[in-house]
């Protein structure tokens, strides 16, 4: 889960990492000026993506009225395919220099890459190579701190002190919060060595959510900002709308095959609506997941046909087909034709069930696609 800056800063602050005083204004809510910290302010649109400054959702405000107007102008805007549902208004940090610190999972090495720089504020990848120092170490507190100690050697003393100070809190948060990435950029450093996290980016592990109550609370509080993670947490499967204008609803299982099918449909000039890894192995004889997905697809404005593509290694296709027919009956929003392509275990039984329900069944994917095209033309 790629946390909103506000949520990441909340977790940082809980670890004693200083962040600028600020408050959150959510869409539909009003700014209570009494909650504002002393100005001047910086008004920051909250989306789980980088490049917010360039996209015009990070702006300075000198008066309370200006902050309020900027916030209302940002709320509801769509930036980088994401809707701004909240705005953080925080105190500007004046008279400070900028540095960078990041802890990033190094999946290949099985460690954590520690990155620091005396320069911050811009995209760290845009910095010249010699301005960045990094080391990959074991995911252990002592190892992370020792790495930072080595990396800051020779830096200006106030910057080295700030990076060391920030590293202690960030390492604890990274390990105990089971993060995949934490980046503070810029880290504001004052001449006296005191410092504050100007921005915060944090990516957490969805697979660890059950044992991270703090992260679960964030998810529950802002399900709209974390659509995919909320869905996976609540329903146990992956579903992503890849094109709100899409014409083909997909009922598929398996991440790789579902992605490949979307690629191939698009290459053929067709418009898939969604990605889905329903996990047929997890249905356990219940229609709940299927009904949910068929309802969502049925509610999509442009969907004109549903394509089912299941390669059953273990799943019994006869059982699956019975669930499917029952789920279609329970999904009143679904009014478009259904084309099924099934391969594997229990195909003859599936054939009998689907033909009785009037659903076209193919074993060849190309034949199923020809059928889909027929429904679209």
């Amino acid at each position: 889960m790629y946390l909103l800056e506000h949520d990441a800063k909340t977790l940082l602050a809980e670890r004693g990492i200083p962040v600028p005083a600020g408050c959150l204004v959510e869409a539909g809510g009003k700014l209570d000026e009494r909650t504002l910290p002393p100005g001047p302010w910086i008004v920051k649109g909250q989306i789980a993506a980088g490049g917010r400054g360039k996209a015009g959702i990070i702006k300075k405000a000198a008066t309370g009225a200006e902050a309020r107007d900027l916030a209302s102008a940002m709320l509801g805007r769509t930036v980088r395919e994401k809707r701004v549902e909240a705005v953080r208004i925080e105190q500007q940090v004046a008279g400070a220099e900028e540095a960078y610190i990041g802890l990033i999972l190094d999946a290949a090495a099985g460690g954590v890459r520690v990155i620091v720089s005396e320069r911050g504020g811009v995209d760290v990848e845009a910095l010249p190579r010699d301005a960045i120092r990094s080391e990959t170490v074991l995911p252990q507190r002592e190892a992370l701190l020792a790495a930072v100690e080595r990396l800051v050697a020779g830096m200006a003393p106030h910057k080295a002190a700030a990076l060391r100070g920030a590293a202690a809190g960030l390492a604890a948060l990274f390990l105990e919060g089971e993060a995949l990435l934490i980046e503070v950029n810029p880290l504001f450093v004052r001449p006296d060595g005191t410092w504050v996290a100007g921005d915060a980016k944090m990516v957490t592990d969805d697979s660890a959510l059950e044992r991270q109550p703090g992260q679960r609370e964030l998810l529950a509080a802002r399900a709209k900002a974390y659509t995919e993670a909320a869905l996976k947490h609540d329903h146990g499967f992956d579903y992503v709308v890849v094109d709100p204008e899409g014409e083909i609803g997909l009922l598929t299982t398996g991440a790789g095959l579902s992605m490949m099918l979307i690629d191939e449909l698009r290459a053929a000039g067709l418009k898939p609506f969604n990605f889905l890894d329903i996990r047929t192995g997890g249905l356990r004889g219940e229609t709940t997941r299927l009904v949910k997905v068929l309802q969502w697809i049925g509610e999509a404005p442009r969907v004109r046909v549903v394509l089912i593509n299941i390669f059953a290694g273990i799943t019994e296709l006869g059982e699956f087909s019975k669930l499917l027919v029952s789920a279609i009956a329970q999904a009143p929003a679904l009014k478009v034709p259904v084309v099924a392509r099934l391969v594997g275990n229990g195909l003859p039984a599936a054939q009998a069930v689907l033909s009785e329900a009037g659903i076209a069944l193919h074993t060849d994917l190309d034949a199923a696609l020809a059928d889909v095209r027929g429904h679209l033309s």
Binding site: L180, D205, R211, G254, A255, L257
Partner: protein, 290 residues
């Protein structure tokens, strides 16, 4: 060098054998030909399942049977402990189909495996198989035709579809390893390059990849370093996936210019790999070369 090849005589332990999935897949693996000699279940009262003895931990299972290969059918939050039990008990080849293993647990296991020189396949994998001999996990039989193609895949389903279509064209596999879709994992594509280079029954290699991470790029570099001379083919899923959203697999995530389809295609082609755009093109392309 990692040697994933097993055969019908390789003795295998199943962790979690008394659970729903463990019981089912033990039966299916045995029907395929896998020599399952022991089960491990710390809490079970059962002493045996279908004639296979059940032990409380891996150490006892290893001592009693001599098996050092295991498949773990345990839940995501229990996997770390199960793998510590396996490695501590003397197991040296572990396959873990479990989906959703916490990443920080995977980091610990990776370190543990490296310390003792054990091989780990997974997590989030359908397993591995030597067609016609034995399988660890649940790769579908319909896709397992003995042959000369080494196959590695992050995705289960896309590899089933590929293996099935290739089998229909008479192209079988030598060793098939599902490396899994998690970011932190055991065996990666690059780790198997020396094995496939040396394996006499492998005449070519198919890599089924997907967006995210840089495993495909590392594989390309390993091919070049190895001066790999057999034909290598690749199919990469997720070319049109949106940026910043994990597509089902935790590892299948594009951030900015990292992990993109184009980056992978460029690296693979530079290493002499034939990259296909569609399943049909992949099957026809491989059929014409192998």
């Amino acid at each position: 060098m990692i040697g994933p090849r097993i055969d019908r005589t390789t003795p295998v332990i199943v962790q979690g054998m008394t659970g729903r999935a463990g019981r089912l897949h033990t039966r299916l693996m045995r029907e395929y030909g896998t020599n399952i000699v022991a089960g491990v279940s710390p809490k079970s009262e059962n002493r045996e399942v279908d004639g296979i003895p059940i032990f409380a931990d891996c150490r006892r299972a290893v001592e009693a049977t001599g098996a050092t290969t295991c498949v773990a059918f345990v839940g995501a939050y229990d996997l770390l402990q199960a793998m510590e039990d396996a490695i501590g008990g003397g197991v040296r080849y572990v396959v873990t189909p479990t989906e959703g293993m916490p990443v920080h647990d995977a980091l610990r296991v990776k370190r543990l495996m490296a310390d003792v020189g054990a091989t780990w396949v997974g997590a989030s994998t359908p397993g591995m198989a030597v067609a016609g001999e034995a399988k660890l996990g649940f790769l579908p039989n319909d896709a397992l035709l003995p042959g000369g193609l080494g196959l590695m895949s992050k995705s289960g389903t896309l590899s089933y579809e590929s293996g099935y279509r290739l089998a229909q064209h008479g192209i079988g596999t030598s060793v098939w390893v599902g490396v899994g879709g998690d970011p932190v994992k055991g065996v990666r594509y690059a780790d198997l390059v020396p094995f496939f280079a040396a394996d006499e029954r492998t005449r070519g290699v198919l890599v089924i990849g997907e967006i995210g991470g840089h495993e495909e790029e590392d594989f390309a570099a390993a091919l070049t370093a190895q001066k790999f001379s057999k034909p290598v083919f690749a199919l990469i899923a997720g070319r049109t996936a949106p940026s910043g959203v994990a597509m089902g697999h935790a590892g299948a995530l594009v951030h900015g210019s990292h992990g993109t389809f184009e980056a992978k295609r460029t690296a693979l082609e530079a290493a002499g790999v034939t990259v296909f755009d569609t399943l049909n093109a992949m099957v026809e392309g491989i059929a014409s070369r192998i």
